[in-house]
């Protein structure tokens, strides 16, 4: 049976998602038996034009957001050539942190791009920018999503196992059944592809797998993370720290909250949530009981940069107002 052809590409972002694939470490040999990596610029030195020479790609892992004209062109080319397109990481899936630049009034494109031509005839052009940073999923349809910033190694491995069918090991199946949606786990067990649109994360919110102790959902004040330290293992939200675990898809196992760091939503919203920012405002405000307008004003004054916080990783795709404005091809 021929090996599956896999492509890996990163647009605008960092190298962490690619590193997550390299980080499957001890599984590398097994991966070698399952796939031929036919296109991977960062590690293999594949050139962008090499895609033109490929008849087909079975699975393409596309990481990074769409910021440049090249990012878009490669997304379209790889989509055309690939049977299955996987949005790898928060940038490809939701826009990620590069999309925070969309919040900037003055900086739609990097300032470094301006300058005087020294020899405009001879010198090449630096490349064009898109007007706004977008996710891969806003430019071409993605069949699967592996969320996270970066995706955790077990999830990357689970996605590879699920998409390049091979009966998984007991430990990976155990992971799949404990963390992934039932449909994905069953697909992995039986060696068939998970349904199109599958997100390799949990169904519930991060709170479901967070190790912190929840006592009562009431808190009296909102604190900034640097203002508070309680080594009790108590729920961060209940300590007064804005933690987005209640609106965020689980799958990470409460990685950040276990370290005493509030969740910022890199797995995107859960299925049950329409807009993570609205969910957070609703959830937090319901835990206060202010009685006067002054008390309400004093409380609201404590919340700062709601957009940059609640849509840290998903501003273009999961902020309802923004989403309606910018969806292009998701049909």
């Amino acid at each position: 049976m021929p090996k599956k052809k896999v492509a890996i590409y990163t647009a605008t972002g960092c190298r962490s998602c690619e590193t997550s694939i390299l980080d499957i470490h001890y599984q590398v040999q097994r991966l070698n038996r399952m796939v031929d990596v036919v296109f991977w610029p960062y590690v293999l030195g594949s050139q962008l034009d090499d895609v033109d020479a490929l008849d087909s790609i079975d699975v393409c892992f596309y990481a990074g957001a769409i910021r440049t004209e090249t990012d878009r062109r490669m997304a379209e080319k790889l989509r055309d050539t690939s049977r299955h397109m996987v949005a790898l990481g928060a940038c490809a899936a939701f826009g990620g942190m590069p999309a925070l630049a969309n919040l900037s009034v003055t900086d739609s494109a990097p300032q470094e791009a301006i300058g005087e031509p020294t020899d405009p005839v001879a010198a090449p052009t630096p490349g064009e920018f898109e007007p706004h940073v977008k996710s891969l999923t806003q430019v071409v349809p993605a069949d699967y999503v592996v969320p996270g910033c970066p995706p955790t190694q077990p999830l990357v491995w689970a996605a590879i196992q699920a998409l390049v069918p091979e009966a998984g090991s007991d430990s990976h199946l155990a992971f799949a059944f404990s963390r992934l949606p039932k449909l994905v786990a069953e697909a992995m067990a039986s060696g068939v592809l998970p349904p199109r649109g599958t997100i390799f994360g949990g169904d519930k919110a991060v709170c479901a797998s967070c190790s912190r102790v929840k006592e009562e959902k009431r808190f009296k004040t909102v604190l900034r993370p640097y203002q508070k330290y309680e080594a009790t293992g108590r729920c961060l939200l209940e300590q007064g720290l804005v933690c987005q675990g209640i609106a965020t898809r689980e799958g990470c196992g409460g990685l950040c909250t276990a370290e005493g760091i509030p969740c910022r939503g890199c797995f995107g919203k859960t299925e049950a949530v329409f807009d993570p920012g609205a969910k957070m405002v609703s959830a937090i405000s319901s835990t206060f009981e202010p009685e006067t307008p002054e008390e309400i004003q004093a409380l609201t004054d404590q919340f700062i940069d709601l957009t940059g916080t609640f849509y840290r990783y998903a501003f273009p795709t999961q902020c309802a107002l923004q989403r309606n404005r910018s969806i292009e091809t998701q049909k």
Partner: protein, 435 residues
């Protein structure tokens, strides 16, 4: 005019391409960063305490620089266990990053992902060496995860310290990891010495390649914590020494129409242009700069390796690409020796792990010797701690001139030697990798 484009270049972060304009036997080569990260637009308007986490996308060392800049902004001192944990984390990242480049070097003629077991068949590289390298990286990443919460985008460094103590089992696991990494690093460096460094046999493509001699910028030698930056001339003579907070005042940025990334230069000397014969105003950073700057190292294995390098290549400063690779090996050993020293329960326990700030300043800064070279963060905030202005000096801007000149040199040499475009690209990628 013939135009040749190599896009992207293998192993480069951020993604880059080289465009060569070929006319009448003369080639002009341009190195271009293709996907710049718009740090300013991402960070202005954010609560300042979020910056260590946001800027971690530039590299793990930026997370640490962000936390240290917050210490400065809030005027707090991190307790000793937190300082030690940050230092241990930095050593771990230096080890990982250098080892990753060594893995790329060793697999440069092969597909490392598919051919991990058979790479030795086509080179003099021993069977299994790449396996050892990859597994050692995996071990070090486990340590990074223990210390930083996540292995790639760490999260635990915060204003005033570290977010939490380590779990009990980590105290036993960390020394175990350090021991294994030390043994592996010793073996890897010995093998590299035999097959790569001293003979240069495994590096024929870049053996004769040198960077253009130019000044370099490092933190002062031996200062702990390092708080003074030093410009040294290409001869090794000190040009200027100043407090780290004055780094922005000493560096200018030049913009070229064809490049998204600006070119950092020594402000006092002015922008000299991108010409190999007038480089007094340019500078570079990184492992080779650090090695050129230092007299002796304070860890035995690294110092032994440095002396071996001096014995083979002569006294520093060095300009050869081989020396740049050797600097990675020396620093890899130094980092793993640092890990061995720091991964000790006694270093990480104490009455406090973080200092809670009581007031917000208006400006905070920090400089860190990151794996790829010195980096600098400065934040200016309003009374609510919202970021109003941000300066992030990364190694991409600082080494832009060096890498552009090196690109021109390599392309010119390859044209003279009538190498194919494919071989020219391979020579370029291998030459740029250690910087």
């Amino acid at each position: 005019m013939q135009t040749i484009t190599f896009e992207p270049l293998r192993w480069q972060d951020p993604p880059s391409r080289v465009t060569i304009k070929n006319q009448n036997g003369h080639s002009d080569a341009y190195l271009q960063v293709t996907t710049p990260r718009n740090v300013r637009a991402m960070t202005i308007g954010r609560p300042v305490e979020e910056l260590p986490r946001i800027l971690a996308i530039l590299g793990p060392a930026h997370h640490l620089a962000g936390a240290m800049a917050l210490d400065s902004l809030f005027d707090v001192e991190a307790p000793e266990p937190a300082v030690n944990m940050r230092r241990a984390l930095l050593d771990t990242y230096v080890f990982i990053e250098h080892l990753k480049k060594i893995a790329f070097l060793l697999s440069s003629k092969t597909n490392p992902f598919a051919d991990l077991r058979v790479a030795g068949r086509t080179d003099r590289i021993p069977h299994g060496l790449l396996d050892d390298v990859m597994h050692t990286i995996a071990l070090a990443q486990e340590a990074a995860k223990i210390l930083g919460g996540r292995s790639d985008h760490p999260i635990t460094a915060i204003a005033g310290g570290i977010s939490r103590y380590l779990k009990k089992e980590a105290y036993a696991r960390l020394p175990e990891i350090a021991g294994k990494c030390l043994a592996a690093a010793t073996h890897i460096s010995a093998t590299l010495n035999e097959i790569v460094m001293e003979t240069g046999d495994a590096l024929p493509t870049v053996k004769a390649t040198s960077i253009t001699a130019m000044p370099f910028l490092t933190m002062a030698n031996g200062e702990d914590p390092p708080n003074t930056a030093v410009f040294k001339a290409d001869t090794g003579k000190s040009i200027a020494e100043f407090p780290a907070k004055d780094i922005p005042a000493n560096i200018g940025f030049h913009k070229e129409f064809w490049s998204h990334a600006p070119f950092a230069y020594i402000k006092d000397r002015g922008w000299p242009g991108l010409q190999a014969d007038t480089t007094e105003g340019l500078y570079f950073v990184g492992p080779l700069a650090r090695l050129n700057s230092r007299q002796a190292l304070n860890t035995p294995l690294a110092e032994e390796e440095r002396l071996r390098m001096v014995s083979a290549l002569g006294l520093p400063p060095h300009v050869g690409v081989t020396a740049a690779y050797w600097a990675l090996v020396v620093e890899m050993l130094q980092a793993v020796e640092g890990m061995s020293e720091m991964f000790d329960q006694k270093k990480f326990v104490g009455p406090s792990i973080r200092t809670i700030p009581t007031e917000t300043g208006t400006e905070g800064y920090a400089a860190v010797e990151a794996p790829d070279g010195i980096i600098f963060h400065r934040y200016q905030v309003d009374p609510l701690g919202i970021v109003e202005e941000v300066d992030v000096l990364d190694t991409t801007k600082q080494n832009n001139a060096l890498l552009c000149l090196l690109t021109q040199t390599v392309v010119a040499t390859c044209r003279e030697q009538k190498k194919s475009w494919k071989d020219t690209r391979a020579a370029l990628e291998l030459s740029l990798l250690p910087f």
